[in-house]
Amino acid sequence: MSSYSLILRTAARFLLPLLLMFSVFLLLRGHDLPGGGFIAGLVASCAFVVYLFAFDVAPVRRMLRLDPRSMVGVGLLLAALSGVPAVFMGDAFFTGLWLELELPRVGEIKLSTPLVFDIGVYLVVLGSVMAIVMALAEGEE
């Protein structure tokens, strides 16, 4: 069934980017303040759920581009493999590796395997929730 409320549709168009931005924000700062991949992934899921309620499954699918299942697979791979590089450095699995970049005028940027891990978590959460919600929503008919 197509969307039924003009008002909701319009609101959703605004909310989606807003919430996605918020979710990325939560993801990146999670290591220092409340947030992190899981929370961020949930917020992103909420964004798409709003969109799904306003429009329908097909538009969400288009909007996501990546199939949720692939997203889950990629996320899992990312998370699982983030623990592997340390092995080649002679450490145990999941030993954190940190790369600190000094960018002129931007400041220090920390890239790390825990961050990669967190991004994996983010993708898995988003993919899983969307796979579940979309399957359910499609099954309603």
Partner: protein
């Protein structure tokens, strides 16, 4: 002074929560409960605000941000249910 205000605010919020709970339990329709749930979320936002001030830890405010988002989401979800399901089931 601020301490007193905070205490009063807490008390008022508690009262509000209680009242909202009453409506939640009474209903009579699902829509009433949803409205009550939403208000509870708002009250909780307020409560977290008060708590943030009383604790002096601003990080709690993040919860309020999320809460504001999710209350809306739940309401939309319930509304969708009502739309699809029709009357006679709440």
């Amino acid at each position: 002074m601020l301490e007193w205000v905070i205490t009063i605010a807490f008390a008022v919020m508690c009262l509000s929560l209680t009242l909202a709970t009453l409506r939640l339990l009474w209903g009579p329709t699902l829509a009433d409960r949803v409205v009550s749930l939403e208000l509870m979320a708002s009250v909780t936002v307020g409560m977290i605000a008060v708590y943030t001030i009383s604790s002096g830890v601003s990080d709690f405010l993040d919860v309020a941000v999320v809460l504001a988002l999710t209350a809306f989401l739940a309401a939309v979800g319930f509304a969708r249910y009502l739309e699809k399901r029709g009357h006679g089931d709440d």
